[in-house]
Symmetry: C2
Subunit: 442 residues, 2 copies
């Protein structure tokens, strides 16, 4: 999944050349944060740090890339040559993946020589924004359908290959049980699930033959799609097939319903299966699902054992982007602040402190300057030092466990799908004072 | 950008194994189409065919991929071995990139041995869906701001690396002037634009020094970002700087405004620049732009020469996915039809015929069975035969020219941003009869 270092905005490179001309390469502190939560959302969940670390660890310009920049005529030969030894040599502090967070809270803090910290802006955002977007959406699905198997079905309408891969990972972080995307199983070691498509049924002269041939070919994993023609008639065929195959030791594992009123179909299909001695056959549902439909289905107590959740989760359809920014907060020890209208930032290198109540729920978040003593757990944890990863990154299993604990620690009102009174992040007086000082100066 | 062949849904592989067990590998016809346009949209624009052809041309399983499948325990060794010689040997017919289309119209038609046509489903959709989504959104921006330079600024909030690359390409197809993404410039040979970031200004002790150093480092391309602190004060600094640098032959090319009321700022900045003898300095605007804001800015006659359009275009924020499907329409010469509730399809291998009026505008689209004589231009054109590309694919320049002609040929009401009475695609009586025949049979 290595992307070219040229997967960046042109202005990163023109700024690098201008910095080089002035020999400006002091220590810069950039922070990535979300200015405001999308409408209707009560929290976000951090994800994508592992891919960010991969990217920073492998940062370099190949000879081909440098040659292309040189022939573009935009840059001096001296500048192009200077890129050959560029590596990421800085520090990274970040919220552990799976951590719940709110507006204005730093997710990733990069402390590095200016040219490195600037160059990586576009891809750092591209990587962390998307997985955070998807983990945040998937977490809502998990809250809406606890104890149910949720499977990422969304590769086909994800925005490209990497989105397909990273949404499988991010939804797994948030508590999904797995994905349909084979390559995500291979790359991330996560569970992969699959059934059959309508085309399989259609390619056969009749549905019975399709079901039987599939069950024989996949005796350990016979999930039959029953809505191609008539869902209930197909359920009866499943019952008959299960009887025919039982003597051979082949069991039907489950059925999938992908259209119509999922609750009503599931009830009728469950009744048909139960009456036909197929109590062990599970019902799986899919088709335009999101956290709201999951909530309704769960509330209706429909007998559905698992869900394929696709497009709306992978594209975070109700909020397909986050209002995030990667901003310079300090340069050569001096705090900096952007004051653009509606986009002002809190200055300086920061830390975030979280206090939990005696019930284990998040009680308060306090944003301070880094190094300032404050009660609570500091959330930004060291990840890289001088370009090297500190120890081993947590496993996906450990990240999932952390994410589950974070969701359990959410105040009850923030666990609801509907928009609640926002969680108020406290700003330390030191930060407010610093912002005022800088404003007075410039 | 080669993605692993395992970037597919697990069910494609389990179906392949089941087909293999039955020695079912007859000729299948699959068609990719959109069931319904997103709310508020009057047309879509096809894109992504070049990447689809790349994918199909390179389709193969590597030894590593086969070994991974074998050790997964899901497939028989015989089946895994059989994948080694799988190639795409089929035919592809498709709408040329840049073609405007409507609901139910086939965009891509794949005619191939069943296992090939089935396997490619997930990635075919993943590739064509996303570029079509973005080209369709970008085309609306082009219609809203004709004669203005539009530049893709959206890499950072695109959904991953491939989305960043493909949205640069798709927006260029639709009529954007270029992108900020350097790698898209390298890969696709398209124009790349860039300015500077707020961090550049903030890293300097004062804005004056930032502007001057940048102009000296980029004398041919000095685009200055003027909204970090106070937009109008910064415009005065630009005027003074232009005077200082003129004797050295350095000209300021333009300024960028990224926040606040863009129209009001642009007017005041234009006045300041003009009064300061900087008539040649262009004004570029960015910040949460989409086709609606572009329309308003153009209607207000704000003196803005170009726009950076990012996130909302790259994510197609108001409609982040299309309701598309890739369906089996014919197998071994027999037409097929899915009847799932709300998701029924027109059966058989089809062709689309478009008639233009004497004014050059699209008059009617008629969907027929392939080979059926009909008036108008057949739109599905041959692209691959027996796994090989026919001739050369059109250049990006040719695709852009075609897209521009297609937009010009849209009936006036469909060129509007607001939802119009839908364009009614005509269905040939032969198709209606065939659907009824199949329904009666099954």
């Amino acid at each position: 999944m290595r992307a070219s270092v040229l997967l960046t905005d042109l202005y990163e490179l023109t700024m690098l050349e201008a910095y080089a001309a002035q020999r400006m390469n002091g220590t810069a502190v950039f922070e990535l944060f979300v200015r405001a939560l999308p409408r209707g959302r009560n929290f976000l969940m951090a994800a994508g740090l592992a891919q960010l670390v991969d990217y920073l660890s492998g940062l370099r310009f190949t000879d081909d890339e440098i040659a292309w920049l040189a022939q573009s005529g935009r840059f001096t030969p001296t500048f192009c040559r200077s890129l050959a030894d560029l590596r990421f040599t800085g520090d990274v502090n970040a919220l552990p993946e799976g951590t719940v967070f709110f507006a204005d809270e730093p997710i990733v803090q990069i402390v590095a020589p200016l040219r490195e910290a600037q160059l990586v802006e576009s891809r750092v955002m591209n990587l962390v924004h998307y997985q955070t977007l998807v983990a945040s959406k998937a977490a809502r699905c998990v809250l809406a359908a606890p104890q149910r198997l949720l499977v990422d079905f969304g590769l086909r309408r994800s925005h490209g290959a990497e989105a397909g891969m990273l949404s499988a990972r991010a939804s797994y972080v948030a508590g999904f049980g797995g994905t349909a995307t084979v390559e995500a199983g291979r790359r991330f070691g996560m569970p992969v699930y699959g059934t059959m498509a309508h085309s399989y049924v259609q390619a056969h002269a009749d549905e019975d033959a399709a079901f039987e041939s599939f069950a024989r070919a996949q005796p350990a994993n016979a999930m039959l799609l029953i809505d191609t023609y008539d869902t209930e008639r197909a359920a009866h065929k499943v019952v008959a097939l299960a009887r025919r195959l039982a003597p051979e030791g082949i069991a039907i594992k489950g059925v999938r319903i992908d259209s119509g009123d999922l609750c009503a179909h599931a009830r009728r299909v469950r009744a048909i299966l139960d009456a036909g001695d197929c109590r062990g056959v599970t019902i799986f549902a899919s088709g335009n699902l999101d956290e709201f439909r999951l909530r309704d289905i769960v509330a209706a107590e429909a007998p559905i054992d698992g869900f394929g959740v696709g497009t709306r989760m992978n594209t975070s359809a109700d909020a397909p982007y986050l209002d995030c920014a990667y901003k310079l907060e300090e340069y050569e020890g001096q705090p900096r602040r952007k004051r653009s209208e509606g986009k002002a930032t809190w200055p300086g290198r920061k830390q975030l402190h979280r206090r939990y109540g005696s019930d284990g729920r998040i009680e308060s978040d306090l944003l301070t300057l880094a190094g300032e003593p404050a009660p609570g757990t500091p959330l930004l944890a060291p990840v890289m030092r001088e370009g090297r990863v500190l120890g081993e990154l947590p496993s996906l299993a450990a990240i999932r466990a952390h994410a589950a604990r974070q969701l359990a620690a959410l105040p009850e009102r923030l666990r609801m799908l509907d928009e609640a009174a926002p969680f108020a992040v406290e700003i330390a007086p030191s930060l407010v004072r610093l912002a005022a000082q800088i404003d007075a100066r410039t």
